[in-house]
Symmetry: C2
Subunit: 158 residues, 2 copies
């Protein structure tokens, strides 16, 4: 519980800091999101190296996704992804019904506009993790009612 809190508080500070330093330099919202996403990317790269140190080689893309949904998600967000769907053509949708980084916020639609900044880092985290497993992707997130959240992963064929 302690470690969990540490990550959450630090994540909040990070968002605040990025947005505050943006105010001074008149950076727009989109660039803040990009920066958070990039930080997530590098952290994801580092994490996946640790996590997969002792795992067997992955069979295929779906196998990699299952690892992300189970092991990776549990380590970082303390629960598994609730639902994984795919169109078998390179698009995966990961549904988390109670996403940890949104769980502290008021439910419903009131703060919906603030959701993207709380998701950018995590999108990067997934993209970075996948990237170090050799899967190039674009990761976006979508919220219709907090704290549920859908992550969409589009695999970039190389």
């Amino acid at each position: 519980m302690a470690d969990e809190a540490l990550f959450q508080f630090l994540h909040n500070e990070l968002i605040q800091y990025v947005y505050k330093s943006a105010e001074q330099g008149e950076m727009e919202n989109g660039r803040c999101i990009t920066r958070l996403e990039n930080m997530g990317f590098r952290v994801g790269q580092g994490l996946i190296e640790r996590f997969t140190k002792d795992t067997a080689r992955f069979k295929d893309e779906l196998d990699v996704m299952k690892f992300i949904c189970k092991d990776f998600w549990t380590s970082v967000f303390k629960k598994q992804i609730d639902n994984l769907r795919t169109n078998h053509q390179g698009i995966y949708v990961l549904q988390d019904n109670k996403f940890r980084l949104l769980a502290q916020m008021s439910g419903g639609k009131q703060y919906l506009e603030h959701a993207p900044k709380y998701l950018a880092f995590s999108c990067g985290l997934v993209r970075g993790g996948l990237s170090n497993l050799g899967v190039k992707s674009i990761v976006t997130a979508e919220v219709s009612a907090m704290p549920a959240c859908k992550f969409q992963i589009m695999i970039q064929k190389m």
Copy 2:
């Protein structure tokens, strides 16, 4: 191990981000340190509330310090403080022989000049924690040989 890595990677990103955004605005080193320290302060405030939720009331200042050295340190830095000393007049010195956030860096004196930015957040963390326990303090850190580190806490009498 995973959570540990998450904090460490995020902490590194934070430092990099603060220093990088400083470059653009020509902010000097001291202000970066202050910002990191302030972020640590707020995170420390939040953490201590969670940690002390179910603990008994503290007897005195020394009791608070022992809690910081044992429970708080173990939760955040995965080990206890190795040595706690005090002059019984409001100065406490906490010695950590293998400080977690310096443990990844090369030992000896080569990167000694970079140590302060890796300690600022943690100084704030301690100050914030103490502050929410009603102990106002100034916290500084000192490194003579990595990864050992001494935190000095000067209690501010109110």
